[in-house]
């Protein structure tokens, strides 16, 4: 009853906190314009916000793992994450442009087929494991994890509408998923840049003196984004689209084929019907 609502509410709160802590550079000038120029505040703001983001992530991961982790799911996640993490070690014969990353293929498809919690964990764990393996642990990790988690989680939101349009197993399904993945390809870049941006173009105390407004902040961010990553992100979006468009159908089929096997449960028969050793 209450418990049924608690989980979604926690997801929502954590995600909101996450959004706020990612978007703070746009809001902060407003704060500071009216308040005191933070004399001692300088570079600690981005790290502080990373901490907040990390805390939101902890709460969210705890909530999701408590709901979702049977032994089968743990093993399945582990192995699929291994595939995702291994993808970057493969020598690839096709030249692959800049920001392309094959990890979103499985994150989106598993989120779509196995549900929001699985997709979320798939996104989060893929980034954790790649970071651990390549020595890429850092304060950029929480925002990457969060965003990749959102990618997987949001893929599950497509399911009801696909079902309503009865697109499941039809070609429209793959078109929509591919388009969805392309949008996330760009969006992922935009969110990632939100994290580095304050470091590089630190808004903290450049603005208060002039009271620069939100509009100008947006302009600056847009410039930054165009300059640093638009090309990469387009490559990523195109890569995502092609992967899902090319391999989505067989991959979906494989994931669904195994879905049943991973969800088998045994329920004790209602009562022992067999009267054993009864004197006849």
């Amino acid at each position: 009853m209450k418990n049924r609502w608690l989980s979604p509410i926690i997801y929502l709160i954590c995600s909101l906190v996450g959004v706020v802590s990612l978007l703070y550079p746009f809001v902060l000038p407003q704060f500071n314009a009216t308040g005191q120029p933070g004399q001692q505040r300088s570079a600690d703001m981005p790290l502080m916000l990373t901490l907040l983001l990390g805390l939101a992530l902890l709460v969210l991961v705890y909530e999701v793992q408590g709901q979702a982790m049977s032994t089968k799911i743990i093993a399945l996640l582990g192995v699929l994450v291994a595939i995702n993490a291994a993808l970057r070690f493969f020598d690839v014969a096709i030249p692959i442009p800049g920001g392309f990353s094959p990890i979103f293929f499985l994150i989106i498809l598993t989120g779509y087929v196995y549900g929001a919690r699985f997709g979320f964990l798939m996104g989060v764990m893929t980034l954790v494991v790649s970071a651990i393996l390549t020595g890429g642990v850092g304060p950029w990790l929480p925002s990457q994890m969060f965003t990749a988690g959102w990618v997987g989680m949001s893929a599950a939101l497509l399911r009801p509408s696909m079902r309503n349009l009865s697109l499941e197993g039809r070609s429209g399904e793959v078109w929509i998923l591919a388009g969805f993945s392309a949008v996330w390809g760009i969006l992922f870049g935009i969110i990632m840049n939100l994290w580095t941006w304050p470091f590089i173009a630190g808004p903290a105390d450049q603005y208060w003196s002039q009271g620069i407004g939100m509009l100008e902040t947006f302009q600056r961010y847009a410039t930054y984004y165009l300059a640093t990553s638009l090309v990469w992100d387009i490559a990523r979006a195109a890569g995502n689209f092609l992967l899902i468009f090319g391999f989505g159908v067989p991959a979906l089929r494989a994931l669904r084929r195994f879905q049943r096997r991973f969800t088998f449960t045994y329920s004790q028969p209602p009562a022992p019907v067999v009267p054993e050793n009864l004197p006849g």
């Binding site: 009216t34 805390l55 902890l58 408590g66 089968k72 399945l76 192995v79 096709i94 393996l133 494989a254």
Partner: protein, 345 residues
């Protein structure tokens, strides 16, 4: 290699370095911190656990600094020392170009490079297993997933090469994207099959099938309210200027959240077989870090014998102060490299 630092010593060093990096924008101090980090990086490079970066880290650092300098110069038109000007009417690039903006950009770049360096050292110097052991007990299922993934990566890579060869010999040529299908499907399906077998093996070895219930409602509520408190504290602190109230809220929120996590972690029965040993080297690094934190905090608190950490390029560029006490305390960040190099001899 009998001398190695305790995992928690590395964690402490990491945190202290981060505090130092975010406490100041004074160019002298930043340079000093970066110097210490580079000393660590080059001395410890030999004992790095994972593959080296494709791009040399130094070159990457230069790129970051260069980019942030130029970007800030181009987009921030504040500051008194004007180098040259473009007509105000030009969108975005119009306005005066100042030395302050360039220096400010450079500081940004240095801080970012410092963060990158410290985390690179941290995650390179610790083996994967020790990193996984850092995952708190309450996230035990997640730690197991990580462990499985790390264990299965080599298997997956081997599998992929097998598949690739098998298909190649079958006459499969990799010309277009579609030709990758016979590689991807067996990899995915093989993975799913292996996952089933693995979970069977785990189950039959007594691995509990689910984490201890979805957690008690109360503890989940405590955690969420902790998170909300921290958020509120941060908003209050930076918006309305009520810094002390904000800090209070942040700390109480942290306490609630981490306390709840710790408490729930204790409910999960688990023992650790591998124990790390504390050694004298750990003491030295921890002591140095402690002294540094003390000095930084004293300076924050406005202790007069120490100079201020504060520095800003705006509004008019000036030479930053340099306090020898703070400077020498910062050198403590070199200790890990020193201890580890002792061990090698």
């Amino acid at each position: 290699m009998n001398t190695r630092l305790h995992t928690w010593t590395w964690v402490a060093w990491l945190i202290v370095t981060l505090i130092a990096l975010s406490a100041t924008r004074n160019l002298f101090y930043l340079t000093l911190i970066l110097f210490c980090l580079l000393v660590n990086y080059f001395i410890l490079e030999a004992s790095f656990q994972k593959g080296a970066y494709p791009l040399s880290l130094l070159r990457f650092g230069l790129m970051i600094c260069g980019f942030s300098t130029v970007f800030n110069l181009l987009t921030s038109h504040n500051g008194a020392t004007v180098i040259f000007s473009l007509p105000q009417a030009w969108p975005l690039i119009g306005g005066s170009y100042t030395l302050e903006a360039a220096v400010y950009g450079l500081t940004n770049g240095l801080v970012l490079f410092g963060i990158l360096l410290v985390f690179t050292i941290f995650s390179q110097v610790l083996p994967v297993r020790r990193l996984i052991r850092l995952v708190p007990r309450v996230f035990f299922p997640v730690a197991v997933v990580t462990s499985i993934a790390v264990t299965f990566v080599p298997t997956t890579i081997r599998q992929f090469h097998q598949i690739k060869e098998a298909q190649l010999i079958r006459g499969q040529r990799l010309k277009s994207l579609g030709d990758w299908l016979p590689l991807i499907v067996p990899l995915l399906v093989g993975g799913l099959e292996r996952a089933l077998q693995l979970s069977e093996a785990m189950t039959s070895r007594g691995f509990a099938s689910s984490s201890p219930a979805p957690g008690k409602q109360s503890s989940r509520l405590v955690m969420v309210s902790g998170l909300l408190l921290v958020t509120a504290g941060w908003i209050l602190g930076s918006w309305s200027g009520k810094e002390s109230l904000g800090l209070g809220l942040i700390f109480s929120g942290l306490l609630l959240l981490l306390g709840a996590l710790w408490w729930m972690g204790r409910q999960i029965p688990h023992t650790n077989y591998t124990r790390e040993v504390w050694q004298a080297g750990d003491g030295i690094v921890l002591l140095g870090s402690g002294v540094l934190v003390f000095v930084l905090l004293s300076s924050f608190a406005g202790l007069t014998i120490l100079g201020s950490l504060y520095y800003s390029a705006y509004p008019v560029l000036q030479w930053p102060d340099f306090d020898p006490w703070i400077g020498s305390a910062l050198l403590a960040l070199c200790f890990p490299a020193y201890i580890m190099s002792l061990g090698k001899k």
